[in-house]
């Protein structure tokens, strides 16, 4: 019980910080939390991740609406209509509607998840090796086609990720690939230092630039308006956003990223100049999607977004894995934590908005520095456990340089191929052995 309370509180804090600090996404913050998660139980790690992922969306819209800086990439639709909301003096309404929309969408999603997970868990068909291979290949194609790069560039990134992922000794074929008799390369390139370098460090550096552009004054939020009426008017966009978000979240690799944009675009078609409704749909959609991505993870232990890959990597390092038995026995604790943390996040997002805004302005120069320091410290600590601390640090620094140089590109194809290379290789072997 103590474990679930601690992981919920820490997940909530992590979610608040992920949402508030511009440029830091769930993946980056999960990587930053590595020292906290090493050696922790399955329940602790999964609860921490689910709570963080579910609550971060409440706060991403705060920086977008108050400062014009998106806390999350899913807050981008808000940014595009912020000036119009400001002109119509509707920032207060938007903040409230995005918070209440997020809460309704989360409860709606949790209700659907609880009903969908048992259904998923009995589809053992999904566990067949060839199904995993098909999903892996579809994911690969989607990554290449739908990333923000040109297809050829995405393909090259994926190829580079595949090549780097293949380095090491393959215990099935009993052959080494590109190890050059270097002992450190024998177990392959460690995933976390490279992904931290590629994603988190450039993200943080970028967040420093974004924070420097912030205005020196903060938006003074108040709740002195007819909230019930506002909710009543916007309930349909909230429900539409929740449904769109939920189902788009189930699409592997792209779902949660496009959910808010998809809901926003559809809402714009339905209610062209009603900007509050756009906010309601977009913000409900991203909360809904952020929860529905958990369905494959919790029912089959399958990751469909980058942050989930990172979570599975951490779990595998901890020698634990998500199983249906685990969800049957302890799933209710996770759902109670998610529901509880959603209510807390809703209250915090509205009640503490002015305090949070002040705090961000005060600490804005220190926070990114603190996080960069924490990243390298956590990598060192993680490497120390494997007696490879300097090797991990070097890899992290080198990949940070590459990540920063390539920051204009979408590196998801690289990450996807790098993280999944070993698994797809193993699945390919199994499929060839079993079915051919």
């Amino acid at each position: 019980m103590f474990e679930i309370v601690i992981s919920t509180i820490l997940g909530l804090i992590a979610g608040i910080m992920t949402g508030l600090i511009p440029g830091i996404g769930t993946t980056a913050f999960l990587l930053l939390s590595l020292p906290l998660l090493v050696d922790q139980s399955l329940l602790f790690c999964v609860t921490f991740y689910c709570v963080m992922s579910a609550t971060s969306q409440y706060f991403g819209s705060i920086t977008a609406l108050c400062f014009g800086v998106p806390g999350e990439t899913t807050s981008l639709p808000l940014l595009s209509i912020r000036s119009r909301l400001e002109n119509e003096n509707k920032i207060n309404d938007s903040i409230y509607i995005s918070a209440i929309g997020s809460l309704i969408a989360s409860i709606f999603s949790i209700f659907l998840i609880i009903n969908l997970i048992p259904l998923f868990s009995h589809w053992f068909f999904y566990l067949k090796s060839y199904v995993s291979l098909i999903f892996g290949l579809i994911g690969f194609v989607l990554c290449v086609l739908y990333s923000n790069n040109k297809i050829l560039i995405s393909f090259l990134f994926a190829a580079a990720g595949w090549f780097l992922g293949k380095i090491g000794y393959n215990s099935i074929t009993q052959q080494a690939f590109m190890t050059f008799d270097v002992h450190y390369l024998y177990s392959g390139l460690p995933a976390l230092p490279i992904i931290i370098g590629i994603y988190a460090v450039p993200n943080l550096l970028q967040s420093i630039f974004q924070i420097l552009k912030m205005p020196n004054t903060f938006y003074n939020f108040n709740l002195r308006f007819n909230k019930n009426n506002l909710l009543f008017i916007n309930i349909m966009p909230i429900m539409r956003g929740s449904i769109i978000g939920f189902f788009s979240g189930l699409i592997p690799f792209i779902g949660s990223g496009i959910s808010s944009l998809l809901a926003y675009t559809i809402e714009k078609k339905i209610n062209d100049k009603e900007y509050i409704k756009h906010v309601a749909a977009a913000e409900s959609a991203n909360n809904s999607a952020n929860l529905s991505v958990l369905v494959p993870l919790l029912s089959l232990g399958v990751a469909i977004v980058t942050s989930e890959y990172v979570l599975l990597e951490i779990l595998s390092n901890n020698s634990v894995s998500i199983s249906w038995k685990f969800i049957e026995q302890q799933g209710y604790l996770i759902f109670v934590s998610i529901i509880f943390s959603n209510f807390i996040a809703f209250i915090f997002a509205l009640r503490l908005i002015n305090l949070i805004s002040k705090l961000i302005l005060k600490l804005r120069y220190m926070l990114p520095m603190f996080f960069i320091f924490s990243i390298f410290l956590s990598i060192f600590y993680y490497g120390l456990g494997n007696h490879q601390e300097y090797w991990y640090l070097i890899l992290c620094v080198v990949s940070s340089v590459f990540g920063f140089l390539l920051r204009k590109f979408d590196l998801l194809p690289f990450t996807f191929a790098f993280l999944l290379q070993n698994q797809i290789d193993v699945i390919l072997y199994r499929v060839s052995q079993i079915y051919f």
Partner: protein
Amino acid sequence: MYKVIMTFLLFVIWTSTSYAKDLLFLSNGATTGMLVQLSRFFASDLEKDGYLPQIKSTNNNCALAKLMWDQSRVPTLMLTSHYGDGLTDINNKMCFVSIKQEELLYWVYSTPYVFCSAGNKTWQDLLIPNSTHTIAIPHENRSLRLLEEISKFYNIKIKPVKVESSVHLIPMIKSGELDFVFRTGITEFEDLKNKCIWTTKNENYQKLPNGSKYLSKLNIDLSVFSLNSYIVGKNISTQDKEKILKAIQNGWKSEEVQKIFTRRNFDSNLVSFQNKQEYDDKIKYLWNLIYQ
């Protein structure tokens, strides 16, 4: 001032080399895996006996573990698992550590292989001529050779699938991709309960018969099919060896370690010893088992 600092430094170096009984404790297991967990238990008992064990785990990088073992000039222990670790795989040139019999210090555990049905197929179904069966085995070549022999002798087609861990094995069993499984530690799997057919252990392990009855027509020694974990040591004096052995034995007998062994159905009787003679016999038996 310079003299004071130098004297202090020399004092520190002298005290650290003369009194602290440094002991390097290597393990190639995952940081949170069982080998590292066991190393910690043994290390705490070594500490009680005045040693300063420093546990270093390379998190499945056997090449690095071998490098550290080869280069170590201090008293060093290494906990390894035969056939479960690249350090004992002769085909793995970067990892294989060639040890001498006198370096074999302590037999930690032994667990036999078990042959279980993963679906509805029985042993009789397996032996139907020209039938095809998918069998999961660990990442080592002995099991592969055994399946090849069975396949040839009974004229059946066997599709062997090397599966590294139970994390990967369970989804394959659940999805119905496997007909049989041949590996260690599977009798307690929910999906394999009451479906195990034979074991490679001579005595009555988990109330299962010995596999030689099933494979009596084949000339195969099944006793070599077991997973054995042991501690090897180097740069250890005869005097220290006795102390270290006693400390490890205390750790081995501890409630925490025995709990791990019971949970995993390890054979404690096979590896335990009461006196010097029994110890020598067990080490000799282990040496023959792993290097015959």
